[in-house]
Symmetry: C2
Subunit: 279 residues, 2 copies
Amino acid sequence: MDKRAIGVFDSGLGGLTAVKELRRIAPQENIVYFGDTARVPYGSRGPETILKYAWQDACFLMEQNIKYLIAACGTVSSHVDETFRAHLDVPFCDVIGPASLAAAKGTKTGRIGLIATAASIRSGAYDRALAAIDPSLQVLPKACPLFVPLVEQGLFQKDCEITRLTVEMYLAPLKQQKIDTLILGCTHYPLLAPLIDEFFEGQVLLIDSGRQAVDTAVGDIAALGLSGDGKGESTYFVSDDMDSFVRNAGLFLGAPVDGTVHEIDIEQFEGVKVWKKRS
Amino acid sequence: MDKRAIGVFDSGLGGLTAVKELRRIAPQENIVYFGDTARVPYGSRGPETILKYAWQDACFLMEQNIKYLIAACGTVSSHVDETFRAHLDVPFCDVIGPASLAAAKGTKTGRIGLIATAASIRSGAYDRALAAIDPSLQVLPKACPLFVPLVEQGLFQKDCEITRLTVEMYLAPLKQQKIDTLILGCTHYPLLAPLIDEFFEGQVLLIDSGRQAVDTAVGDIAALGLSGDGKGESTYFVSDDMDSFVRNAGLFLGAPVDGTVHEIDIEQFEGVKVWKKRS
């Protein structure tokens, strides 16, 4: 039994949908979460910036004595490369592999839609992962840059006309392309799942990429003999205003914040130097 | 005659609406623009983060041999304090004073609406500036966090139903409160002016805060004997992907980017140390 926490990070609050799932399927695990609220959103940044931020985030969490690291951020997951993975001190999973596998298993027609940030789509990470599983799968991508701000403003109720129209604007081309499976490639998007499901009239399988990553992580942890029997405590770190985090986190967790919250200065973090030295 | 450039900065692209205006009224002036595209948006950050970023931005531009500095960013303008101003090496103006003066002059009923980012509203900067001009003025504020992403996605055409509904959602309370003047407290918002004007049926005076700041700056420059007779060249610096800047800047400039574009790493910038030493 290993009481060390599982580290989870995201560019902001979206990764909390993965924390919610982790709480549900592994309630005995301690969790340390880092949300880079001072630098969110990553999805509109260039590849080098995203990779630098991701490395700082990972280094910070590795200093918190974690046993496993989850990148619960579609944009980070689309950009981490072999160099990044090779330099980590703990086992790691991101959302790409698990979500791709679930989509490949779930599709019947081989026509898989992908919604994500512009940076995630541009990276081609899902295309590569799905092609590696089955080269005959077709990936039909659509960047949805307004979904994150809409969710962060709490506008995801089924009766919200603004969000309904935005869902229609982004997803109409995918409906026309007759997808039967849709990867929600950003951890903010599960909050829009009811509206998305309604748009597709329940005919498209929705893959929650954060949930898939958590399932994979919990399996890995068991296989590695690292499972915990802790109290299931959560500690949250953010890089900007704590009050704003506490106010909004409940939307994603589905319950009020249940642990301590700390503010850190991620930019001053030494991880940058380590990365430069190592690479 | 002073050939040195006017420095203009913003958290991202919004400040380019001020550059457009500066081009129009002072075509002989050289301009150096910095858009902090790697860290946009500032509007959801905490006050300390915003002030730190603003100081880095200002220090970078002061190293470009400028003769005057304009903060063409509502959020920065709401957070710069006397310490910040005291440490600048060049004359400076932000959007708060000029926009407040224009609103105070323009209102007949004294009921002034203010739309801006959440951080700008929270700062109370406009309330203080308007109260200093005339304590009887009433400021009716509304944070509009979705306006920036909508504008950045190019969704500001008059026939865009999503944006029309968002305008209605945010501005209905101000209409009910019977404002006669509205400060557009974010330099992204002028692109939404036609939709906002339509919502108010042309009955509300719209104050473009970036345009007011530019008018003030050009007046200051003339009064200080710093006017230029240059070729009106523009140089743009951004902190993230240049291609994305070039793709989107035209929306704000109303024309394709007309100068050279450079990418810099603003976080590594020494300004931070200077600020710490000086404060």
